[in-house]
């Protein structure tokens, strides 16, 4: 019997995949080569070890992070559809078959464009008086375990602020028409630990004591890690600002250690 065949039979035996004939073939070989039984037993042990290793415990924020990504994905999809609708209207409106159709197309295109602009918050001009930001308390977040929606004229997204081992993780997914500044202000009990941009988009970030600022545009997600320094964590203030001033603001006080 070749080494290759022995390896195949032993491994299939471990996986319970040998036929009756193959099991007999292996048994006969092991009768003649009892020293090979140790190898078979070690292969079985490897399998048992993997079984004993069990699952890795995912972070508590896993589900919320996935749902936040999906919320951003859906928001981006809506924006794309709205953009395509506007583009299609524009293209249709310039087909000059006859002068009347052209004029009528322009008028109806303009009307529909206006309708889209005012009916869809993400396409409308930024008007600070229309702020609709909502961010529930830390306790409420714990209860629902869901990301919380951020919505303001010209943008939308979701945020989740979660206590994690050693600090706080702020997961922000945002879609906006214009460049906006995301500002996180925190107490002395936390310090900046890093930011991940899962999509790999370019972004600008500045860090100062007790403050992290991210310049955002388009569709991105940021996971900011704030590490505990052992002191009072204090409140975390999240602000989103545009050219016309503040668009969204909320303060959250994470649970103490």
């Amino acid at each position: 019997m070749t080494d290759e065949r022995i390896t195949e039979l032993m491994n299939q035996e471990v996986d319970g995949a040998n036929t009756a004939d193959e099991s007999r073939e292996l048994s006969a070989y092991l009768e003649e080569h009892p020293e090979e039984r140790a190898r078979l037993e070690e292969l079985r042990t490897v399998g048992r070890m993997f079984g004993d290793a069990g699952d890795v415990e995912p972070p508590a924020a896993l589900h919320g992070a996935i749902m936040a990504s999906l919320a951003a994905e859906r928001a981006g999809e809506l924006r794309k559809r709205a953009h395509q609708a506007v583009t299609a209207m524009s293209v249709r409106s310039v087909r000059p078959r006859i002068g009347f159709a052209f004029a009528a197309g322009l008028v109806s295109g303009a009307c529909l464009l206006a309708l889209v602009l005012f009916a869809i918050p993400g396409r409308g001009p930024i008007d600070p008086s229309r702020l609709t930001g909502t961010l529930v308390s830390r306790e409420a977040q714990e209860a629902v375990r869901e990301p919380v929606a951020i919505q303001f004229p010209g943008g939308r997204g979701a945020v989740r602020i979660a206590d994690v081992e050693g600090g706080v993780e702020v997961d922000i997914a945002l879609v906006s028409d214009e460049v906006v500044r995301i500002t996180l202000e925190h107490g002395e009990g936390l310090r900046y630990g890093g930011v991940r941009v899962p999509g790999g988009e370019e972004h600008s970030i500045s860090v100062a004591p007790r403050r992290v600022e991210i310049m955002h545009s388009g569709d991105s997600r940021y996971v900011v890690a704030l590490r505990s320094t052992g002191g009072e964590r204090g409140a975390i203030r999240l602000r989103v600002s545009g050219n016309d001033g503040e668009l969204f603001e909320e303060t959250v006080r994470p649970r103490r250690n």
Partner: protein
């Protein structure tokens, strides 16, 4: 398809967000574990898991219900893990350990150590071998299922698995982990 998955997919395709969230709830832990075993990093595993579900959401309409949903999701997870590992991440290092369960009892420390040693041995394998080991041992899939997910012949699955197992045997015995 696994009981219930078919209905969830149908509902999700009709725009029922709750149905897709149910799919996420059902498979997020397993996908995360596959990603972690492939990448050995909680941040990477988190990113990979999110990307898997985003891609599944985008491609759900192209999913063939004749196949099993979990096989389809695992195939996305495997490909995404490979892509993620090959591509240099733009992460800024942070040592916040988000994946450690603070409630881990003392009597499971030894198990955690064994798990870490196994992970260490896994990382000693090339990606091609690591994939089949993860799918076989952690997801307990058959040769045929692994063949379908990875997109290689069943014979190649066996060959890679047997070679990997032999290497793991040597590695783990050498480390004195085998009992």
């Amino acid at each position: 398809m696994v009981d219930g998955d078919s209905a969830l997919v149908t509902q999700a395709l009709k725009g029922d967000e709750a149905a897709f969230e149910e799919i996420v709830r059902k498979y997020e832990r397993t996908i995360y574990n596959v990603a972690y075993r492939m990448a050995r990093n909680h941040d990477d595993a988190l990113d990979i898991t999110q990307t898997v579900f985003i891609k599944a959401y985008r491609k759900l309409a192209s999913f063939n219900p004749a196949y099993k949903l979990f096989s389809w999701l695992y195939a996305i997870a495997v490909n995404e893990s490979i892509n993620h590992i090959k591509k240099h991440s733009r992460m800024v290092p942070t040592d916040v350990e988000v994946g450690v369960d603070p409630r881990t009892p003392a009597d499971s420390i030894e198990r955690a150590e064994v798990s870490e040693q196994i992970q260490e041995a896994l990382m000693g394998l090339s990606l091609d071998y690591r994939i089949v080991v993860v799918l076989k041992y952690f997801l307990e899939l058959s040769y045929r299922e692994i063949s379908g997910i990875v997109g290689i012949p069943e014979k190649t699955v066996k060959s890679r698995l047997f070679t990997a197992r032999e290497r793991l045997r040597v590695l783990l015995v050498r480390q004195g982990v085998s009992r």
